[in-house]
Symmetry: D3
Subunit: 70 residues, 6 copies
């Protein structure tokens, strides 16, 4: 499936932390040392079988992205 | 100001496209060739004086991030 | 790619309206007469070649969904 | 109150799962078998008294909707 | 309809600016001089007949709110 | 850092509630008695050292704001 979602960044899962109904997942982006944190449902994390070291894509809709400048 | 926003990625503005009330801004992330697109208001783009080649930070709240795996 | 995105609803594109940098796309959900409207970038609408009558999936992260009751 | 929110889909609550501070609520859409999952605060779920079998409206702002095509 | 949406702030519309498919609406919050800007669809702004001086409620899901501290 | 984020409202933290991986933070806006609730990660709440009585800024991207009228 091709998605309208503009931002699809490649990386590797660095950490999965399951809570009660939510989970946080950290992904290290390829080609750098920048980390992206995702807050997703625990159900999603479990269904996808997310685990440290796994290749993953980080997806973000462009309307969710803010810009900061000095 | 320190922000609760988990994701603050460094990069350089690669393109600014102003529309009627919205604008799209593309930022090339440091340490790789990955591009992030932001849809922000035209007012914000103009007030910040965003321009190609300018260093910028991309900010995304963790609740807005999705994960994909093969 | 399998996505963490909880909501992936099947339907058919009913309308595509391109603006300056944004676009609105209406999708009629299968098995009912309910319509979902998406505001995406014009670039995404054009790259995907979205057109009336085309089957499409509507995706929404669960953190973006609100509930109302009488 | 009339809302700017474009997407207001009718359905019936199929499941409520309370966590520590968040809750997940599943709603079966009318006229089909499609399910929508919402991640809302536990406070909201409790204040609204959400319960299985209750009619409910699912609300999503159009800027939160993505489109996928084959 | 009662909503799960935690944030429902009262104010008065200070400005409506229609674009091609989007619109920006500024609302002055009651009891202060703080302004909130909303980016909604032009269709929503027109259907609601939004106009300067009109009382309005600003709604924001709690998962969309960030916190900053000095 | 100057941000594209249109909505930056001043207030004082009224409550911090930590969950398993998420937290809810309530902020009373200056110049009124209106409260804003934020759902952020527990990590963010802890790293910022958020505590009742602390001055704080509430940030919301304009694309996340909805409008309601009677």
């Amino acid at each position: 499936m091709r998605l309208s979602t503009r931002n699809q960044l490649k990386g590797t899962i660095a950490e999965v932390h399951l809570g009660a109904v939510m989970a946080t997942v950290k992904v290290r982006l390829d080609g750098g040392d920048q980390i992206v944190t995702a807050s997703i449902t625990k159900d999603a994390a479990e269904e996808l079988g997310l685990a440290e070291g796994q290749p993953a894509t980080v997806l973000v809709k462009s309307t969710e992205v803010m810009i900061g400048v000095e």
